[in-house]
């Protein structure tokens, strides 16, 4: 297992280096120049030349990449000229907010989706299964922004029960949880719909396996078969989904953040992309790539926990 982990960590480092190289090259292939984006259309040629030299953009690309990696090793992700802050500080401000929003909705989604999936599998092709399946399809196919706006219309503008946005004058959103209800519910609804469908299918697939028939033949109770044997194996696809979601948790939910005025990682990335804020884009890519790689590693480890037959060597 330890050897496996060492190999996986080594692979992760290679993947991360590959991601940063590709991103670095792609960003520098974009038309225009980062310095023009920084200084704006009124800047003179002399000012552009001076800043190019100050920032090292006149150096060969591989030298620029080397400098960036050196800074990265020293936990310096650069400076966002657009937002007038170090990228590390920006990520430090946005990441907790995104972790709170996406993380809490993911936890809620798992808590709701697993029992729902089991229930639907047990009650397969009965009216309540049809109702829940229909609702899953509705929520899964509904664009996030539409669901968010509908919730705002109902719970803010019609009933006036909840705020339409996350708190604005607080550093951290959990200091005013009322403002977090609608964004969390929006994300949770969509995620529950997805996870419960996977859970239902997986439960149905496992319930016709030989080991289930064997357990029943041995006289194991229906409840024990379901919760001890079937559930454990049925969780593997859900674990995969959760592992893949780690990158998403860090990367944020740009549409939900946009609708509910919630300045998280997703919007940081989006705005950096449209304003040619290269240091922020690179910093974001590094953090999300790291989270994605770690999420996949975590999922692989959890497979072995969920299914004793899986062994890594």
């Amino acid at each position: 297992m330890i050897g496996y982990l060492i190999r996986r960590v080594g692979q992760a480092i290679v993947v991360l280096i590959g991601v940063t190289i590709i991103t670095f090259i792609l960003l520098h292939l974009l038309p225009g120049s980062p310095v023009r984006a920084i200084l704006g259309p009124r800047a003179s040629a002399a000012a552009i030349k001076q800043l190019n030299e100050e920032l090292g953009f006149n150096k060969p690309l591989y030298v620029q990449y080397g400098i960036w990696v050196w800074n990265l090793v020293h936990l310096n992700l650069g400076f966002s000229y657009k937002l007038n802050q170090p990228v590390m500080a920006l990520i430090g401000q946005r990441l907790p907010k995104t972790l709170f929003l996406v993380g809490s909705s993911l936890v809620l989604a798992v808590i709701l989706a697993v029992p729902l999936g089991i229930w639907q599998a047990v009650r397969r092709n009965r009216p309540d299964d049809y109702v829940l399946t229909g609702m899953s399809f509705i929520f899964y196919s509904m664009p996030t922004f539409l669901l968010g706006i509908l919730l705002i219309i109902v719970f803010n503008q019609t009933l006036n029960w909840l705020p339409f946005e996350a708190p604005q004058n607080q550093t951290y959103p959990w200091t005013d949880l009322n403002g977090m209800v609608l964004p969390v519910v929006t994300l949770t609804a969509v995620t529950v719909a997805l996870f419960s469908r996977y859970m239902r299918s997986s439960m149905l697939e496992q319930s016709i396996q030989d080991y289930v028939r064997t357990a029943r033949a041995k006289g194991v109770s229906n409840q024990a078969v379901l919760l001890v044997h079937v559930l454990r194996n049925a969780l593997i696809p859900v674990i995969t989904l959760i592992g893949l979601s780690i990158g998403g948790i860090v990367g944020g939910a740009v549409v939900t953040e946009s609708v509910f005025n919630y300045p998280g990682m997703g919007l940081l990335y989006y705005n950096a992309a449209v304003t040619d804020d290269f240091p922020t884009l690179l910093g974001f890519v590094v953090v999300v790539a790291l989270a994605t790689v770690l999420g996949n590693l975590l999922a692989d480890i959890l497979y072995a926990v969920a299914d004793p037959r899986i062994r890594y060597v």
């Binding site: 974009l30 038309p31 225009g32 120049s33 023009r36 984006a37 920084i38 200084l39 704006g40 259309p41 009124r42 800047a43 003179s44 040629a45 002399a46 000012a47 552009i48 001076q50 800043l51 030299e53 100050e54 920032l55 090292g56 800074n71 310096n76 650069g78 400076f79 000229y81 657009k82 937002l83 007038n84 802050q85 170090p86 500080a89 401000q93 922004f145 706006i149 705002i152 803010n156 503008q157 339409f164 946005e165 604005q168 004058n169 607080q170 550093t171 953040e257 946009s258 609708v259 509910f260 005025n261 919630y262 300045p263 919007l267 705005n271 992309a273 449209v274 304003t275 040619d276 240091p279």
Partner: protein
């Protein structure tokens, strides 16, 4: 569009008398809404555009309406204020710290006197505070000064700096008294141009509180070494820079760098003692790095009127959708309707909002890339530009794509506000080249093109005679262009698609459209294309905007349409135009100045150096109907919360 001449005093008095008689005859009485003191005004910031720089001397990176007009200027009043809350693009003596400057010696010298205003800490605002700004500005814009910025801390600068212009066109400046100073210029300049475009850049700074090199160091006169000036070599007239600008840790540049570094620590804005010493009507009370800013009245504000509201809050929004949700929920005092939601205007009006489009003093256009080796020679032909402009149906775009909120652009001087006296009779009289498909086709045919409507027109009569295609255009050359435009705006997409369709169907001008984010379009268009270093990646580029005359309030084209100007995207070059621009800078008196300006704008209205497009409002403002003081909005995108009150 109708040109509205200036009203004389007597004509104005006559209008007032007639109005009074009419009101009396009708038995009506005029009522002014009774206002109350106090209350909080919440103002919506632009989508993902929070204020992020507080130091009024903002480098190009931070030089924006958000950081200056809507944020730092509420705390740091420029020496000379422009705009007057009634949409007039004029100097406003009442809101200025300085009195109207006096020019002398054939307009080569300027004397400035200050009113007796005070800083929020009770100290007087003096000529030393103006010299302090000039010293920091000279050092920060000196091309010979050592580089200060780095990738982890960009250095100080000034976004409005133009090489050879202010303060390099100032031979010397010195305080001549507590409240007076004197400048000697390197040439004779039009007083209005020099006031509107050069002196307009000065903002007094509290020297007694800010002249330091570190937060723990003592206050001194570290900037003073920059006052001595020397000439830049090979300049005519001679341009001047400080002899000793300092460096990142000493002298004026050191002070500028220290204040700049403090402005890069956003989390301390509301607590840093530097920012608590202000001259403006408001002082910062709370600020988050996400852009939430709460300002409260400066009790020592010397200007008039003084604020009556208890707080002015600027709220950040991640998107215009989020802002519109806030507007519908009624949580904003001043917000805006996204263009795509304009159909809900009536609904918001019913819920207690008043609609008021906010226009800027600018014009909308997109440039031709005259340096493009293949298409440049075609776009250099005046007949082609006339034909192309004749295919831009501005009235249709305004009515169909902009919901009626737009003004046709006829030339480089803004036609809004309607009573702008700087608009010549020609430009004010309407488009010189209004939409006319037959004229466009006729112009092309008359100059050697075989027009293939629906296809691509070709040059079949090359040469330089008056009925031939023109210099540099070969036989068989095609009217085939690439037009890059900014994505994200439905209105702009509609305009570009309509232009593409009309041009090809009517005149056989093929336009291949492509889109990119706004910043990339800007990056492409302003990539330093010149004839010695041409760009061949684009023919036309439309970022969906144009130019706003601020803080260069006099609407001449030295920065955008002059040969070699830093913001001349397509490298338009015309010696007559250059001479016309220079005349607007050097006119000796009001009469000569207006004549020079009319000559300049009439020439460009006919020459079409760019494609004129409908000028749209800065934003479609919605404000609470019980708020007074916002009936007119700042023509230079500036705010006037000291006028706000609730009725």
């Amino acid at each position: 569009m109708r040109h509205i001449p200036k009203l004389s005093f007597w004509r104005l008095a006559g209008v007032a008398a007639v109005t009074a008689l009419f009101v009396a005859a009708c038995g009506g009485t005029t009522t002014t809404p009774k206002t109350t003191t106090g209350g909080t005004v919440t103002f919506a910031e632009g989508p993902s555009a929070p204020p992020s720089y507080i130091f009024p001397m903002a480098s190009g990176t931070y030089f924006s309406v958000t950081n200056l007009s809507d944020f730092s200027q509420l705390m740091y009043v420029p020496l000379f204020w422009f705009g007057n809350n009634t949409s007039d693009p004029v100097f406003n003596a009442q809101l200025s710290i300085g009195n109207q400057p006096v020019f002398s010696n054939n307009n080569t010298e300027v004397s400035i006197t200050l009113k007796h205003w005070v800083w929020s800490n009770g100290k007087p605002i003096t000529a030393r505070d103006v010299v302090f700004w000039l010293n920091l500005l000279s050092a920060a814009t000196d091309p010979n000064a050592p580089a200060v910025g780095s990738s982890s801390a960009p250095g100080p600068g000034w976004g409005a700096a133009v090489p050879g212009a202010f303060p390099q066109n100032v031979v010397s400046y010195q305080a001549t008294g507590t409240y007076s100073l004197h400048m000697t210029l390197n040439s004779s300049y039009n007083p209005r141009w020099f006031l509107y475009n050069e002196l307009s850049q000065i903002t007094p700074l509290p020297q007694q509180a800010w002249d330091e090199l570190s937060a723990s160091g003592p206050i001194g006169n570290y900037d003073a070494g920059a006052e001595a000036r020397t000439t830049l070599p090979n300049t005519s007239p001679a341009e001047y820079v400080p002899t000793n600008p300092g460096n990142g840790t000493s002298g004026a540049l050191g002070v500028a760098q220290f204040i700049n570094s403090q402005s890069q620590t956003l989390g301390t804005y509301a607590t840093n003692p530097l920012w608590q010493v202000v001259s403006g009507p408001f002082v910062l009370n709370a600020y988050t790095t996400a852009g939430y800013a709460k300002m409260v009245p400066n009790k020592s504000y010397s200007g008039s009127p003084k604020p009556t509201i208890s707080a002015f809050i600027e709220e950040p929004f991640t998107s215009d959708t989020a802002e519109f949700n806030a507007l519908k929920a009624g949580s904003l005092t001043i917000g805006y309707i996204p263009t795509q939601d304009i159909s809900q205007k009536a609904l918001l009006e019913k819920s207690g909002y008043t609609f008021n489009p906010w226009y800027s003093f600018g014009f909308t256009y997109f440039p031709y890339n005259f340096t493009e080796p293949t298409t440049g020679p075609i776009m250099k032909q005046l007949y082609f530009r006339q034909a192309f402009q004749s295919l831009v149906n501005q009235p249709q775009y305004i009515s169909d794509f902009l919901a009626g909120y737009g003004v046709a652009t006829n030339g480089p001087v803004p036609t809004y506000p309607l009573h702008n006296p700087d608009v010549s009779p020609l430009e004010g009289g309407g488009q010189v080249y209004p939409y006319s498909a037959s004229k466009a086709v006729g112009l092309l045919k008359a100059h050697g093109w075989t027009v293939n409507a629906g296809g691509v027109s070709t040059c079949t009569k090359p040469g330089t005679a008056s009925d031939e295609c023109g210099q540099g255009i070969a036989n068989g050359a095609q009217l085939n262009f690439r037009l890059l435009y900014a994505q994200g705006s439905v209105a702009l997409t509609n305009e570009m698609t309509a232009l593409q369709s009309t041009a090809q169907q009517v005149a056989g001008i093929k336009i291949t459209l492509s889109t990119a984010p706004f910043q990339q379009v800007i990056g492409t268009a302003f990539n330093g294309c010149t004839f010695s270093s041409p760009c061949n990646g684009w023919d036309m580029a439309n970022w969906g905007g144009g130019w706003v005359y601020s803080p260069d309030y006099f609407p001449t084209g030295g920065e955008i349409l002059g040969t070699g100007a830093s913001s001349n995207a397509g490298d338009y070059s015309d010696t007559t135009n250059d001479a016309n621009i220079k005349a607007t800078h050097t006119a000796a008196n009001d009469t000569a100045e207006l004549k020079a300006l009319f000559t300049y704008e009439d020439y460009l209205a006919k020459q079409l150096p760019v494609v004129y497009m409908p000028t749209t409002p800065y934003q479609l403002t919605m404000y609470k109907s019980n708020l007074t003081g916002l009936e007119h909005q700042g023509i230079f995108d500036e705010l006037y919360p000291q006028y706000y009150a609730f009725s």
